[in-house]
Symmetry: C2
Subunit: 438 residues, 2 copies
């Protein structure tokens, strides 16, 4: 065997192994939302924070702040590449061409930048936790979400891998691949199942996510409908999947000047959204302030939307509720889409598929337990590679606090007095308090 002298020397010369190497390495819905914000709220200022809901894992013990800063500076130095912008302009998304306007693409090339940030080592009860805070124009803050989550997630992975021997690393990945393939084999027994990959933000690593997506794409045929990761969609000719997130209704709610405006803001988001997007991109996320009240109070035209994504309610209940609501409004549920995306794994995907089959077009957005399921894989039995609940939340908009109630009491965010006010406005019926896994 010949020695590759250049490669060997280069392997000793590495300064940084960047985690996020392309601005497209983000969820597709962030780009849709970015255009939405650029168009409708270009001057609004916001603050977002990344933190770890899994308090037992102390991030500061695993992630050196200096290294995190290096990774974040690398991302800030990235620009959209010419061929990426051409792809955004020329590709069809959900069958539609020119989803991104020329003015927006021009701004992506010449005007887009990422806001400044703080890395904060928390103290007191949160001792050992790290928090990232982003403040600035909403257009400069919003894209940090996925980059920052993916950076923190993969830096934690690297820290856990650093103590393992070559054999242990090999065993670790063998087990994770075995586990993945067992899941794929289960899914292959049900040809009609539909799922896409939603796991960028809490992935084990970029390369593992790419491996997982490649394995699903190769093995599942039409059951695998695509990836939320825009870079992977671009690189591997996949469908880029996603629509919108809680960030939008939360911001519009924060900007409301009265309780009436606050209540109306949840539909105002949809009104604005459908000015820019249509068809499969009209998938609403009704749980921000409670799904039941959202549906009850929705104007008639909301029933024309293509589907619903369920992110914090038991999808069996939420799906039935949505079907009943559609029927009440004279719409054929079998033509609508219902997407579940909250902590799914293969068993639940199959259960939901069987439950909703023929009643509504169900598809699963499979996230953390697809791209970061190393449970039971650690060669020393350690928990250092098990997924944690990393989240990024909008904290304030133009200085006003941002609030989410959600369908799960434990997922409510915002100051207590604001949560109370929101509960008065939106009601607080029919919320459960399920434990949050990821």
């Amino acid at each position: 065997m010949q020695v590759n002298f250049a490669e060997r020397a280069h392997n000793h010369n590495w300064k940084l192994d960047p985690i996020v190497r392309s601005l497209l390495d983000t969820d597709f819905y962030k780009l849709l939302m970015l255009q939405f914000i650029w168009k409708n709220f270009p001057q609004v200022h916001v603050t977002s924070e990344v933190f770890n809901r899994t308090l037992s894992v102390k991030l500061a013990e695993h992630i050196p702040i200096d290294l995190l800063r290096q990774q974040m500076e690398f991302v800030r130095g990235l620009r959209f590449r010419k061929s990426e912008l051409i792809w955004l302009a020329g590709n069809t998304f959900y069958g539609t061409r020119s989803i991104f306007e020329p003015g927006f693409l021009d701004w992506l090339e010449h005007g887009f930048k990422l806001s400044d940030y703080e890395i904060i080592a928390l103290t007191g009860e949160q001792e050992g936790q790290l928090m990232l805070r982003f403040s600035g124009l909403w257009t400069e803050v919003t894209m940090w979400e996925i980059y920052a989550l993916a950076l923190v997630s993969e830096m934690r992975t690297r820290s856990a891998l650093a103590v393992l021997s070559e054999l242990e690393l090999d065993v670790l990945y063998a087990r994770a691949k075995t586990k993945l393939w067992d899941k794929i084999e289960r899914l292959r027994t049900v040809p009609g199942v539909r799922l896409s990959e939603f796991g960028t933000r809490r992935r084990h690593s970029f390369l593992w996510q790419e491996y997982v997506v490649g394995a699903l794409h190769t093995s599942l045929g039409s059951s695998f409908t695509g990836s939320s990761n825009t870079h992977l969609a671009y690189k591997h000719d996949l469908e880029a999947i996603g629509t919108n997130a809680h960030e939008l209704p939360m911001a519009l709610a924060a900007l409301a000047n009265s309780d009436e405006e606050l209540y109306a803001s949840q539909y105002r988001v949809l009104e604005l959204w459908q000015k820019s997007y249509g068809g499969e991109l009209l998938v609403m996320l009704p749980d921000t302030f409670g799904t039941t009240q959202f549906l009850e109070g929705a104007p008639e035209w909301v029933a024309d939307w293509t589907g619903q994504r369920c992110d914090s309610k038991d999808p069996l209940i939420a799906g039935d509720e949505y079907i009943a609501w559609l029927t009440k409004h004279g719409r054929d549920a079998r033509k609508k889409r219902f997407i579940a995306s909250d902590g799914l794994d293969v068993e639940q995907i199959l259960e939901l598929h069987a439950y909703f089959n023929e009643r509504i077009r169900f598809s699963a957005g499979w996230g953390t337990l697809l791209t970061n399921d190393f449970r039971g894989c650690h060669p020393r039995g350690d928990a250092a590679l098990e997924p944690i609940s990393l989240v990024c939340k909008l904290k304030s908009v133009e200085g006003r606090p941002a609030v989410k109630l959600s369908d799960n009491l434990r997922k409510a965010t915002g100051p207590a007095e604001e949560i109370a006010r929101y509960r008065k406005v939106f009601g607080s019926e029919a919320r459960d308090g399920s434990a949050i896994l990821v």
Copy 2:
């Protein structure tokens, strides 16, 4: 990433990917027996045959004869390398230096060669099977055994791998590694267990065997006592493990000129062996014509031998029988060694260790189910990679048929009338008919 032009072009230029690349890539006991034969029977002619006891697998469908011949010609072209001979001369085996005589090493360098061979496509009931036949001086035939078995075994592997995609190959090895590591984890819970690797002849492939041996060596500490593979021992500073095989008593039996000589020949082997070897190499293999009769008729000095290898009897029974026999002869069984080597897997190794612990020094010779356990690993659920029962048997010595009775009725080999004659001479008590797994 730079392209390695030379490597890429070379990968298209390969003519042959040799399976056996060193004459040391054989069981250590073959070298011990080769010296024994070279010393005591340099002019004896024998015939050996390699065949497949697993009739459901038709070798000819998987192994092109031309390619097999190319591999065998490659082995025939090999010579002992200078550094290999220096290692054989200078290394200590079982703590003893100079096990190989200078004259023998000189002959290995200048006089050793492999006999001619035939590759026979069988017909009739055996349609689809391949047989390899080796005829010539015993010193030229004997070494073919392991080379030929390893070639056939790995060529079958390659044929099964050839239809798999890159992802499927990756899944296959991930599963096999997961399985191996699960076995290692079980063994690690019992620090006192002792085992060595005996799986050259039926290995999945050389590289897999090397991986497995590396994993055991790294993970099991002193529980892993070494490998029977001399090349791996040489390459990785392991103990080379092994003593002798049925080939010796079978040949001496065939050479016997009377029933009395036939009966005595089973002890004559030991007499000759102990002229060349001592200590840990004095491990007898008493099952060739039945263990019980062997022990009953053994001269007193046989009880001085260091241990016994059990290859065809239930080791729980054979071990108890050996301990009782040692006790009867006034020997302390706790100082003796008892080795089981027949179709073991981790459960049985742990069971035997627990059973014999403190009563005799038990160790396991772990073969096929260590180096070729791909059961349940095939990504398409196919059986093409499950181990088969490939064997090499001495067929005749100086034109006389060679016979083995063994402790398992199904493992008897030789012409029926000769088996009958041997059974008259040796008796046929206490043999079972367990199914042969590998």
